[in-house]
């Protein structure tokens, strides 16, 4: 084969957040890892205390604050930074990258490019010209073409406890998929393949919308019937939106779609779920966000997905109601009432 598994070149991870740290630990089982932290103090803390955000750090992980060094030492890099900072990070990394680099990201969010003077709130609609997935950002900002992504039910805390879990590595390149598998796989972590990278990315992003809604249902004190209803209708909505944005149906039915959706909707640990839960309890969005230490990607995703749905004329009821709850002062009860009264009767019409 083209890649010798004996190679011991280190693998890079960019972003020392929860997920980045956990992925670095998983990768370290197979290879030495260089972990980049934006904050030099964090990098030093990791190297000295062998600990970060409550995770102990694997012996093969070395933290750094130097992107150039990371790009020089590693041919394979896993960017794990929030979508809001992704493009800025890529701009900094780009001068150090060459076409032989392989990037596999794990960021579940969209990137937005707007004309000068506009903000996400001021534009009425968004088209695919303005909304980019992270793999597209990588290709726009750098010369790297061999790009992949990680998606799936990957709650950082459970992964850190070495509970059984799975991920999808998606890429147009078999080379990247096989490499990702080899690097990530261990006896507690299953890796699946998919070549529709855009579909997988979109599925991973859109499920955050439904996760907020799921939290809201929980917050209202509703039980499993309501959740079953939400997840199944939510999946349909994801398929519609995802197709309009250029994904393939299959990605939404797999580990990165249904798999991730069910996990996040059932997980009080997830940030998006928490946002919904506290909203339903009557808290204000601004207060909730102010208290969170890490980004809840879902809040921005709702905004983006709603404006995309308007542009492509997609009926996305859950997204639309959630948008009103989050940004237009509608209460969760009102939104729910609307959805329950809506005369929708076709179950599945996309197959």
């Amino acid at each position: 084969m083209t890649l010798s598994s004996t190679s011991d070149k280190p693998v890079g991870v960019i972003g020392a957040g929860n997920f980045g740290t956990v992925i670095a630990n998983i990768l370290a089982i197979n290879r030495p890892v260089i972990l980049y932290a934006r904050d030099p103090l964090v990098a030093r803390h990791i190297n000295e205390k062998r600990e970060n955000r409550g995770h102990s750090i694997h012996a093969q992980v070395e933290a750094t604050h130097d992107l150039a060094l990371l790009a020089r030492e590693c041919d394979v890099i896993f960017p794990m930074v929030p979508s809001a900072h992704f493009r800025t990070m890529m701009k900094q990394l780009s001068p150090h990258l060459h076409p032989y680099h392989i990037l596999i990201h794990g960021t579940k969010g969209f990137d937005i490019t707007l004309p000068p003077g506009e903000t996400l709130d001021s534009v009425p609609k968004l088209s695919r010209q303005q909304v980019k997935t992270m793999s597209e950002v990588i290709q726009e900002e750098s010369v790297v073409v061999r790009v992949g992504c990680l998606a799936g039910p990957n709650l950082a805390r459970e992964l850190a406890q070495r509970q059984p879990g799975a991920t999808v590595v998606a890429s147009h390149f078999n080379e990247v998929i096989q490499l990702g598998k080899r690097l990530l796989r261990n006896d507690r972590f299953q890796v699946y393949e998919n070549n529709d990278i855009v579909g997988v990315e979109i599925a991973g992003v859109l499920k955050n919308i439904i996760a907020i809604a799921s939290g809201a249902l929980s917050g209202l004190g509703y039980g499993e019937n309501a959740k079953g209803l939400l997840i199944s209708r939510g999946a349909v909505e994801m398929v519609y939106l995802g197709r309009a944005l250029g994904g393939d149906l299959k990605a939404f039915l797999g580990v990165a779609g249904i798999g991730d959706l069910v996990t996040t909707c059932n997980s009080p640990m997830s940030r998006n779920f928490t946002v919904g839960y506290r909203l339903a309890k009557g808290e204000k969005l601004d207060d909730i966000l102010a208290e969170m230490t890490e980004v809840a990607e879902g809040v921005t995703t709702v905004k983006i997905a709603k404006k995309c749905a308007d542009h492509y004329k997609i009926r996305a009821l859950i997204t639309d109601r959630l948008y009103r709850v989050l940004f237009e002062g509608m209460t969760v009860e009102e939104a729910l009432e609307f959805l329950m009264r809506y005369p929708l009767n076709v179950d599945i019409d996309f197959l």
Binding site: T2, L3, H98, Y100, V143, V145, H172, F173, E175
Partner: protein
């Protein structure tokens, strides 16, 4: 009348970039034709065996090949087919049948011999026949007669026939990155990929290459063109190799790709129409055929593989070109084909209703009436679709130099990975398509056709395309004032697109709107019996052939201009 008045200084001839024909890579190829065909044969056999590793698979493949070939001979015979075609394939078939009764250890050598026989025949058929003497002769003949016709028709004076007031360069404008193309052709190997609208394209491009002072390119020309004798003569002398689209069997396709691959590796500048066949709909190609395109990437990778030390190697440059016409001779037939199969997944039957006489008649019409052609040369790309500079360095979006070699590097060394290169081919094809749209040069006639057709479509919003096209032409009339307003609005949007670098337009599109409209209507599909656009006595816009208008309208589809009509 004079249209497309361009600056006179554009008319200067280009010096040849290489002195004598013996220096040309294509000449070297043809001089050693026998050895080259042998090399192609051997390499193709290696490749086919790699794709069909077991004896059983290979025999199945050969049987399928024979079956298809015999079918082709029965159903679709062409004048260019060799006379022994039928005999050859029945021989092969007999030998294959005999094979089944042989014992296993005897099969191997016989099978190899059969494969070699087939591949060698294909390689020989594909290989071009470039001859310097006939090249020079053709070139002079073309130049001489074109010039005579042009002057005889245009300069209305006695003895004008022998004047040199007009040259082809007045008729056919070459715009775009000419200097870069000339420089890249010296630095590396150029793979030119033009859009394909008319059978005339091949000759036109041949002339363009010559008049830019470039050495002859090898062409992948459709074998059907060789049915027309006059074309066959031109093509043979210009370095064409033959692509037979009837043959879809694996040995043939691999041999064809290997031919192109090796020729590019040997430094022969190449040209093929990546759209595969002429655009049936009049749309700029959206989907390219990836087979031949992949050979450019493969050739580049092989060049790197053969020089692992990192020494300087000949880089391969892909140059998109668009051909812009006011008139496409075959338009009515093409669009009919397109409409017939639209929605159904049938293949297009290759039919050529145009023999030498029709062609000459067309050429005469073409030169006597004012219908200009422009050829836009796009910027050079490397095989991954990155822009290159004049020196041939690949550049990233920020203008930093990239090493193309790195795209083929995995874990520190250059590797061969078919799936990766398939993906690269797909990326390259997308880049070429977007480059086509960018360098496309819009004429007044394109815009007039686009606006008129879209206006009619808007007038009957309930009708789908087919019902619209069935409307009697007498019912279709556009008020001039309304047309003018819309035309002006869309033209303004087109200017904006141009400023954003998304399209080009001819200089004649600027200026008084009435004049431009007049130009457009006069020129769109100018020589068709039934004109796609005319003005009636009231000065309103009418059509005699909506279907053909649809064809010319399609040229501007893909720019999202519909919303402004």
């Amino acid at each position: 009348m004079e249209i497309l008045e361009e600056k006179k200084n554009k008319n200067r001839p280009y010096e040849p970039i290489l002195e004598g024909i013996p220096d040309w890579p294509v000449y070297q190829l043809s001089k050693n034709r026998k050895e080259f065909v042998e090399l192609v044969t051997q390499k193709s056999i290696e490749r086919i065996k790699l794709l069909r590793p077991s004896r059983k698979q290979l025999i199945d493949e050969l049987e399928a090949t024979v079956y298809r070939e015999q079918n082709r001979i029965k159903r679709n015979r062409w004048r260019v087919d060799p006379p022994d075609d039928s005999r050859f394939w029945s021989q092969i078939k007999n030998q294959l049948v005999e094979l089944s009764s042989k014992n296993p250890d005897e099969i191997g050598p016989v099978e190899d011999a059969l494969l070699e026989k087939i591949v060698h025949r294909y390689a020989n058929e594909i290989a071009g026949n470039f001859k310097p003497t006939s090249y020079r002769f053709t070139r002079e003949v073309v130049k001489f007669w074109f010039q005579r016709l042009l002057n005889g028709a245009r300069v209305k004076k006695f003895g004008a026939f022998f004047r040199n007031q007009y040259t082809l360069r007045d008729k056919i404008q070459i715009v775009g990155k000419v200097k870069m193309l000339r420089s890249l052709a010296l630095k590396g190997t150029v793979v030119m990929v033009p859009t394909h609208f008319s059978n005339l394209d091949s000759i036109l491009i041949g002339w363009v290459i010559h008049s830019l002072g470039l050495p002859a390119f090898i062409y992948g020309a459709g074998l059907n063109l060789f049915n027309i004798k006059i074309f066959a003569y031109f093509m043979n002398s210009l370095g064409a190799y033959k692509v037979d689209r009837r043959k879809k069997n694996l040995p043939y396709l691999e041999t064809l790709k290997m031919y192109s691959n090796l020729a590019i590796q040997k430094g022969a500048h190449s040209l093929f129409f990546p759209g595969g066949t002429r655009s049936r709909s009049g749309l700029i190609e959206k989907q390219l055929k990836l087979g031949l395109l992949s050979t450019a990437i493969e050739a580049q990778r092989n060049l790197y593989l053969d020089n692992p030390g990192g020494e300087e190697i000949r880089k391969i440059f892909v140059v998109p070109v668009t051909l812009n016409y006011n008139f496409v001779l075959e338009a009515p037939d093409l669009i009919e084909d397109y409409l017939q199969v639209k929605g159904q997944d049938k293949y297009f039957p290759e039919q050529d209703k145009y023999g030498s006489v029709q062609l000459l008649r067309f050429m005469f019409k073409f030169f006597t009436k004012g219908s200009n052609i422009s050829v836009s040369i796009g910027p050079g790309l490397d095989v991954l679709g990155n822009y290159v500079d004049q020196e041939g360095n690949s550049l990233d979006a920020q203008g930093r130099i990239i090493d193309t070699r790195d795209y083929f590097v995995s874990n520190g060394s250059i590797t061969e990975d078919k799936q990766r290169e398939d993906e690269y081919t797909r990326m390259l094809s997308q880049r070429i398509v977007s480059e086509y749209h960018r360098i496309n040069r819009v004429f007044a006639s394109h815009l007039a056709a686009f606006v008129a057709f879209e206006m009619w479509q808007k007038k009957f919003p309930k009708l789908d395309l087919f019902s619209l096209l069935r409307l009697p032409e007498e019912e279709l009339e556009l008020e001039y004032a309304e047309f003018r307003k819309t035309f002006k609005r869309v033209r303004k949007k087109l200017y904006e697109l141009k400023d954003a670098g998304k399209v080009h337009h001819a200089t004649h599109l600027k200026g008084k709107v009435d004049h431009v409209i007049k130009l457009g209507i006069e020129n769109v599909g100018i020589f068709h019996l039934k004109r796609p656009l005319l003005t009636n006595k009231k000065g309103n816009i009418i059509t005699r052939d909506l279907t053909v208008l649809y064809y010319y309208h399609n040229r501007l589809v893909g720019y999202d201009l519909e919303q402004y009509v």
